[in-house]
């Protein structure tokens, strides 16, 4: 059995902040009526709740993020993704919904360190000073789409499309380079 490999296989870069591709991550796109009771029930069973606009909720290693008025993104272990996709599809089988496993379509990065925000403020039109914890911000990093949230103290997570993972790594590495600290 062949082993799955993420876009950059965990590549890292160290500048004034640490940049690292996170390897494989389970990601499931859920499109449905976010008011759905079945949805609330199935995510409750996972210890999660349906996030409010622009929010991301986390529990037991999983997270659920609001992506648009009719779309959520569930994050879980890569190995669980197909099982959870099936579970969600089953739970929403009776309503109009589309549950897709997008784990392989994405790449996940983390930028960490005291000045992690500075790396991303060079790339994203986002007011990081006012970006609260628990918010998922869909934006762009230079020329590609990105979704960003504070995943820990002095740590930001970034999701982008898999095909541009190399470009994203280049952006983050250059922006985190020593000497580029913003005084």
């Amino acid at each position: 059995m062949s082993e799955p490999v993420s876009a950059l296989n965990g590549a890292k870069a160290q500048g004034f902040a640490q940049v690292a591709e996170q390897g494989l991550k389970g990601m499931i796109a859920i499109r449905c009526d976010l008011e759905s009771k079945s949805l609330a029930k199935v995510v409750k069973g996972m210890g999660l709740s349906v996030p409010a606009q622009r929010r991301i909720v986390t529990a037991e290693g999983r997270a659920l993020a609001w992506m648009s008025p009719d779309e959520l993104l569930l994050l879980c272990d890569y190995a669980d993704a197909s099982g959870v996709t099936a579970q969600l599809a089953e739970a929403l089988a009776k309503e109009h919904a589309l549950v897709t496993d997008v784990s392989d379509a994405r790449a996940l990065f983390r930028v960490s360190g005291e000045k992690a925000d500075q790396v991303l403020m060079k790339l994203c039109p986002v007011d990081f000073e006012t970006l609260p914890e628990g918010e998922m911000r869909r934006t762009r990093a230079a020329q590609v789409a990105a979704a960003i949230w504070r995943s820990g103290s002095e740590e930001l997570s970034i999701i982008c499309f898999r095909s541009v993972a190399g470009y994203m790594m280049g952006l983050l590495e250059v922006s985190a380079r020593q000497g580029g600290e913003i005084a």
Partner: protein, 984 residues
């Protein structure tokens, strides 16, 4: 001559001596110097030659307004032309070179132009365009190109890096003088998020040089205190060395920060471009002193009075031992007094006003300076530096009443508020008669989305030229010397004859004189914008910071109308030039543009794939082997695929899932053919048109389940088609229950193509791909070689063909397994060109080749894929328009050259006769053309008038150099017409 004084200098650190060179000559300066102060301190008064007449030029100003003192800075890859010495900080080892002269600064051949000034009048360039007709191309252009431009262009790649950053604030203060600091304190105390930008390294602006009392403190002490307070506020960010370059719509401010200019090669970014969203921009940008227009006002040693003062106070540089001050206002008296304080001589103050009065004038008189009221300068004496001035009555025509020896002239024609930022986004100006200047009209500010102001001017930028007025506006008490009224002086002397006006410069950098603007007026130029372009006034790199008001005053006078009736030219960002590097930011080299990579990208790269860009993807065009040409590689890949088995990385193919109760109805609207009746597990080729009926995409649609479909799109079309779907769903058919998901990147996809394709998949094992289990145009799901997979039996080559989709993370594993297990069957990867040739051999169309946005499916004989049963689909009505149903439309045919050669791409077939433009009539064109290694001859497809009815006819395609290619119209399917090969 200029020199460094033994003591003083607010900004220099005499313990840190820095060495630098000027055109190869080693010089020394101090930490804290600008290049300009260091050059002057080292006695270098003349620093360049002018653009047009090659006249010797020296430093005029001490800040961003400097027109003359531009130098080349650095060498080789770090060389940059036109660097403004007055705003460039000195650093150890700086290499500077003077510009615009040949062979040397002191002896310059081009200076002959100065003697020929009558040959270069206003509008010189335009006149050379016009007459005589041949002369521009053969005479003027070569000369102008040779002599035009200031600095040389660097020839090597810039080794430095640049970056951008985003910032947000409630209040952005542009300018760190006392007005800006006071505004920042106010906003900071009110709890606003404040960013203060100051273009120089230093805070305090003019007040710290000119003195005065603020809030009971010396100006310098107040500035220090204000900075301490601001630094202690968490909601305030101070950024010096950062210019507010432009104010754009919605309060978007571009800031330009010098980060590593003085430490080249230390790894820091050289510049940083700030992209700031500001609720309100306070323009505290100060004011710029105006020169006076008298003959020889450009000779090195003639400087702005404020600049002479700045060099003295800030950098302990004397611009001359004997300075004559010439003015129309009291402020210039400060320069005279400062010079006396420093022990230098001021032989006279030439004041154009009849009765100057006030404490500054009194003080000058008290200290024994001769004040010549109602006088002006006839002309400045000297060539490469000032040696004296001739004095006349300002009211007259320049009869010399006195000659004074001096080596510096400090001039002041009054002050103009810096209204650039205010004006960039539509802030209006009003003419202030008393100070002869345009100032912001605060009743007509630039407005934001809510109609409210997005900018607010303060301080000198708002027309307050006295310290007390400036601080009063901020509610802070201040005191400085009273000043009497100024008197506007636009030409000195007022009745200066031609000979003087020919040498009275308005725009130093572009060599525009008073006489040029007057000539433009005589030649009929009335609009200031036209005059600007005709004379090039204000069109140099300084954008007329010194010349603007003086020029339009001369124009107004020549046209006999008041200055406000003439108005100003448009103020456009950036305030001073910014580097291309900063605009580019991180987007260079590897990350110039996103490169999309499939999971197999590195594998292709390692095998020496020759790439073809497809959208932002790069796909292997072919895989040349050692010593093999691309053409040979393509031929080998095709023959191998048709004989054995070929492998194509098709991961870039668009894959969009469409699901919901209304999904079938939705797809029936999107595709020209019927998709709702496709059976689960089956595939169907479909066409998509836009509302105008033109073919925009094609691909195989798969029915995954009762309520879900998978739509394959072209590689370049995935994002566009997904957006197209969402557009219709969100904006038009918002009540239809359909969800889409673009899963293009979720799956790696490999086409396994050729007679041995089935053998290979069977060897991999895990799924039954027999003819019975998986017939043509169906799909199955399972585990292939241990990898979860969907296998579609579809063909774009005419061969037995499978497309295998696996999660992208397994893509490389699948690809490698196919290559290694396929070796026994002769499997080889093939690229996009082989794909193209094989589809052309089968007569299959390619979006972008056979289509160009003007082609409808009927042109391509695809009527079979247009449903006649459906009530509607996108493009249906458009296809019924008369032009779309016209039998004269060119239609798809195959083309075979008579001699077997390959037709050139894109050539047209000619018809009898000529059109109204005298061109040959045409009857068709080539859309795809290739060499077919299978048929061993050239094959092509094309659109030809009445094409399908003319099978067998030979038509002419004129090519290059008189060649005429003859081709016979044939069926577009060249190979295996019955489809036996794919149906095994």
């Amino acid at each position: 001559m200029s020199t460094r004084l033994p003591k003083g200098g607010r900004l220099i650190d005499r313990s840190k001596s820095l060495s630098f060179t000027f055109s190869g000559q080693p010089l020394r300066g101090f930490a804290g110097d600008t290049l300009a102060s260091a050059l002057l301190g080292a006695g270098q008064t003349m620093v360049g030659r002018s653009f047009k007449y090659h006249r010797p030029r020296g430093i005029v100003a001490s800040g961003a307004e400097e027109p003359n003192a531009l130098v080349g800075l650095g060498r080789n890859a770090r060389f940059e032309p036109d660097q403004r010495t007055t705003t460039t900080e000195l650093f150890e080892g700086a290499e500077t070179t003077s510009q615009n002269h040949w062979p040397s600064l002191k002896f310059d051949v081009g200076a002959i132009n100065d003697k020929l000034y009558r040959l270069f009048p206003a509008g010189f360039y335009y006149k050379t365009f016009m007459f005589p007709r041949f002369a521009w191309k053969h005479v003027f252009e070569p000369i102008v190109r040779q002599s035009a431009g200031l600095g040389a262009v660097p020839k090597e790649r810039d080794p430095d890096r640049y970056e951008q950053a985003y910032a947000y604030c409630d209040v952005l203060v542009a300018g760190g003088g006392v007005a800006g600091l006071a505004a920042a304190l106010k906003a900071g105390r009110a709890g606003k998020r404040v960013i203060v930008l100051e273009q120089t390294p230093h805070w305090g602006g003019r007040a710290v040089v000119d003195g005065g009392q603020i809030d009971g403190l010396d100006a310098e002490a107040w500035v220090k205190d204000a900075l301490q307070k601001l630094e202690s506020m968490e909601n305030v960010t101070l950024r010096n060395r950062t210019m507010a370059a432009g104010l754009h719509d919605h309060g978007y401010v571009i800031g330009y920060q010098s980060v590593g200019d003085t430490t080249p090669g230390d790894g820091r970014p050289r510049h940083r471009l700030w992209r700031i969203r500001a609720g309100l921009t306070i323009t505290a940008t100060g004011a710029i002193e105006r020169p006076l227009s008298f003959a020889g006002n450009d000779i090195p040693g003639v400087m702005l009075a404020s600049a002479v003062r700045d060099y003295l106070v800030n950098w302990a540089v004397s611009c001359g031992d004997r300075t004559v001050v010439v003015t129309n206002n009291d402020d210039a008296y400060r320069t005279a007094l400062a010079l006396l304080d420093a022990g230098l001589a001021v032989p006279a103050i030439i004041d154009a006003r009849d009765m100057p009065a006030g404490p500054l004038v009194d003080e000058a008189r008290r200290r024994g300076i001769k004040v010549m009221e109602g006088h002006g300068i006839t002309r400045v004496l000297g060539k490469t530096n000032v040696t004296g001035v001739e004095i006349c009555r300002q009211a007259g025509e320049g009869s010399v009443v006195k000659q004074i020896d001096c080596d510096c002239v400090a001039m002041s024609g009054g002050w103009s508020p810096v209204v650039h930022l205010w004006s960039h986004c539509g802030g209006k100006l009003t003419w202030d008669e008393a100070h002869a200047m345009f100032r912001p009209d605060t009743t007509r500010p630039p407005t934001g989305a809510d109609g409210g102001p997005i900018a607010q001017p303060v301080g000198a930028a708002n027309g307050h030229l006295r310290l007390s007025e400036i601080m009063d506006e901020a509610g802070i008490g201040a005191a400085s010397d009273e000043e009497g009224p100024m008197a506007p002086v636009w030409l000195m002397p007022a009745g200066a004859p031609d000979a003087l006006r020919f040498k009275a410069f308005l725009d130093y950098q572009n060599d525009v004189k008073v006489s040029d603007v007057q000539l433009a007026a005589r030649e009929g130029y009335e609009s200031v914008e036209h005059t600007k372009r005709y004379t090039t006034l204000g069109m140099a790199t300084d954008q007329g910071k010194l010349s603007n008001i003086n020029g339009l005053a001369i124009l107004s006078d020549a046209l006999g109308r008041p200055i406000p009736a003439t108005g100003t030219t448009t103020f456009r960002p950036p305030y001073t030039p910014i580097s291309f590097g900063a605009v580019t930011g991180e987007a260079r080299g590897e990350i110039f543009q996103p490169l999309r990579r499939t999971p197999m990208h590195e594998w292709h790269e390692a095998r020496g794939a020759h790439w073809e860009p497809v959208g932002l993807w790069r796909r292997p065009y072919c895989y040349p082997r050692s010593g093999e040409s691309h053409r040979d590689a393509v031929n080998r890949e095709i023959t191998n695929t048709r004989t054995n088995v070929g492998l194509l990385d098709a991961s870039t193919l668009g894959k969009i899932v469409v699901k919901g109760p209304d999904a079938g109805k939705f797809l029936d609207m999107l595709y020209t053919n019927m998709m709702s009746n496709l059976a689960v597990g089956k595939c169907r080729y479909g066409l998509m048109c836009n509302e105008n009926g033109f073919l925009m995409d094609d691909g195989v649609v798969v029915r995954l389940s009762e309520d879900s479909w998978l739509c394959h799109t072209t590689s370049g079309g995935a994002d566009r088609i997904h957006a197209w779907m969402e557009d219709w769903l969100q904006c038009e058919w918002w009540d239809w229950k359909v969800y889409t998901a673009n899963l293009t990147e979720q799956y790696a996809q490999v086409a396994v193509v050729g007679p041995k394709a089935r053998d290979l998949l069977e060897k991999l094992g895990g799924m039954d791909v027999s003819k019975e289990a998986l017939p043509f145009m169906q799909y199955v799901e399972g585990t292939l070689a241990g990898i979860p997979a969907r296998i579609f039996r579809i063909s774009f080559s005419g061969e037995l063909s499978y497309e295998i989709a696996v999660p992208a993370s397994y893509g490389l594993a699948l690809w490698e397994a196919l290559n290694s297990e396929g070796a026994a069957f002769g499997a080889m990867p093939y690229g996009t060109e082989a794909l193209h040739v094989m589809r052309a051999e089968k007569g299959f169309i390619m979006i972008g080749d056979e289509t160009d946005g003007t082609v409808i499916p009927q042109d391509l004989n695809l009527n079979w894929a247009i449903s006649k049963k459906k009530e509607d689909f996108l493009g249906k009505r458009a296809m019924e328009r008369s032009h779309m149903t016209d039998p004269e439309r060119w239609k798809l045919v195959g083309l075979e050259t008579v001699d077997g050669s390959v037709l050139p791409d894109g050539v047209y077939a000619v018809a009898e006769g000529h059109n109204a433009n005298g061109q040959r009539n045409v009857q068709g064109r080539v859309t795809s053309t290739y060499y077919s290694p299978t048929l061993k001859r050239g094959i092509a497809m094309g659109l030809v008038k009445h094409g399908p009815e003319r099978t067998g006819e030979v038509i002419d395609f004129p090519g290059d150099n008189g060649a005429v290619h003859q081709a016979r119209i044939v069926d577009p399917c060249f190979y295996d017409k019955d489809g036996e090969k794919q149906n095994v």
